[in-house]
Symmetry: C2
Subunit: 328 residues, 2 copies
């Protein structure tokens, strides 16, 4: 491909901004524009050169965009947008409601096949890179167990739960993978572990003036489902500290395959992500899969795909010859 | 595929034995036989049911084998065998002479295209799984560095070098990744590191009767190329300890991508293998790629391929629907 891949961004929150940032680092891509439901005039982009359009005008761009990167949420946006837009555009999304992936895939597949487009769904890191490592692990070492640990990472849902407690002025919550559980897995014990046993929760809380620390702590650690079942620590900090030390969106985790290739011969595969910005990393994965989607549609491979269907070489701007010479 | 994939093993050393062992664990594969240059009567297989044939008779099996797994060495065997056999058989190999991969690929590709077969070369873990992680790392985080560390692992070449030293009755050498170097990479320093700076060498040596430990140690640590440039430790042990503690073939290593998705935002991807048996693990990877090769040839995708060209889903015995529901 000598011409650059023209990319459109649909939705402009943290993920959309991350895609804008990532495309600027790709030698073979250019940004065609951001499409937002908001008034385009009100959208402040990362780069001044980035054009913003109303989402309703996207069909004027059918011939000027090679691939769309959908940056909406999995709850409300993507179940509607991905099948709709796949009728006319090759695209990628990061749909991450694991239980609804088969349903989402079917809807997108029908639309993409009818429209002769290619739609790669559920890219990102989980689903996405973590899924690939779960697959490689069990395909290569069929006798064994696969463990997924999340964190250390900021959990938006749990942070919101903290902020609803009376007396809390601000808060963040980090999900921490249990060191003890990881050590047991790495040691080849193959323990049975629930999500609860694999993770602990760490809270950083700013109290409202006059709020009582002990009763706030008690309200947190006894909160059903969210904190009560977990080993939870609560740290009280100042508003300045919250702003200074806890405004990032770190995340990451581990996929570990622990098994045996024959009796008593242990084999361990471990994949780990340590991300200072969860949305920027997810965006970077979306952009690599956008490259693959553009190539697949150019070679006539239409319909819905997932990372399981994508040959890794398609993610790289390098030619197959270069990849074999430099990276194999 | 409802019929089992019929697999032939070419060459029966540690790798061939590992493939025999791995196929017995696959729900969708059966072993058609082992093909050896040795007298078939003299080959003792892992399972009594395994048939052994002379390699010269392999063309009698054209219609009874779906895929061959080539288990010969990269120096003498594969440069000849892979192109030759690809003319008539779909196959996989673990060709691992990095510098000669482009040449090997070209020879195999010509043969496989002429013969309408599919040949996946350079599977295994390096090249293979490590290569995939190098590719994913730079495709997703283009601004950064990729580090490959090997070990802790038994090095055959360095063990042989030890055994040639006068006064040495037996010996093994382990390549150890430098903890300090790994820590610097994990910390996001992105240091420039040579292979020498990334690894140390650990020797376990059995002395001949009357040999002088100090002069053997001196001969080891001053040996040019092999040990002199490295931080090398020498441990003297008994023949019993050597047999008891050092007869396995462990190996492994790390691929770490350390980069930034935007200025000052660090992202780290780490892939680690801890293998109690290097040949059994490599065999397991070969067998998973053999499944992919059989599927690709059935769908008419002929020619030479590498792991970069293989959609991960093809490695698993599970259907695409199952993979999406269970692993994505």
């Amino acid at each position: 491909m000598t011409e650059k891949i023209r990319v459109g961004i649909v939705g402009y929150g943290n993920l959309g901004r991350g895609v804008e940032n990532s495309i600027a680092q790709q030698p073979d891509m250019e940004l065609a524009g951001v499409f937002s439901r908001r008034d385009p005039e009100s959208v402040e982009t990362l780069f001044v050169a980035t054009a913003v359009f109303g989402l309703e005008s996207i069909h004027d761009f059918n011939d000027r965009i090679d691939v769309l990167v959908l940056c909406g949420g999995s709850k409300e946006d993507l179940p509607v947008q991905t099948p709709e837009l796949a009728a006319n555009f090759t695209l990628v999304d990061s749909f991450d409601t694991h239980a609804k992936i088969p349903e989402h895939f079917a809807a997108v597949d029908a639309s993409a096949k009818a429209g002769n487009t290619t739609a790669i769904i559920s890219t990102g890191w989980d689903p996405g890179l973590f899924s690939l490592n779960r697959l490689f692990g069990e395909a290569i070492i069929p006798t064994g167990e696969t463990y997924t640990f999340w964190g250390r990472g900021l959990s938006q849902g749990h942070s919101d739960a903290l902020r609803r407690i009376p007396g809390v002025a601000g808060a963040v919550q980090y999900t921490i993978p249990s060191e003890e559980a990881i050590d047991r897995v790495r040691a080849g014990e193959r323990p049975e572990l629930t999500t609860r046993e694999k993770h602990t929760r760490e809270c950083y809380v700013v109290l409202e003036d006059g709020a009582d620390a002990d009763s706030v702590r008690e309200a947190i650690v006894t909160m059903p489902d969210y904190f009560e079942p977990y080993d939870t620590t609560v740290n009280f900090i100042s508003a300045d500290e919250l702003a200074r030390d806890h405004s990032g969106m770190p995340h990451g985790g581990f996929v570990i395959r622990s098994g045996e290739s024959s009796d008593g011969v242990a084999q361990t595969i471990e994949y780990q992500l340590s991300l200072e910005s969860n949305p920027e990393f997810t965006s970077s994965v979306l952009v690599a899969y956008a490259r693959a989607a553009a190539r697949l549609t150019a070679s006539g491979e239409h319909g819905a795909k997932t990372p399981f269907d994508i040959a890794p070489g398609l993610l790289s701007p390098k030619s197959p010859e270069q990849l074999r010479a430099e990276l194999l």
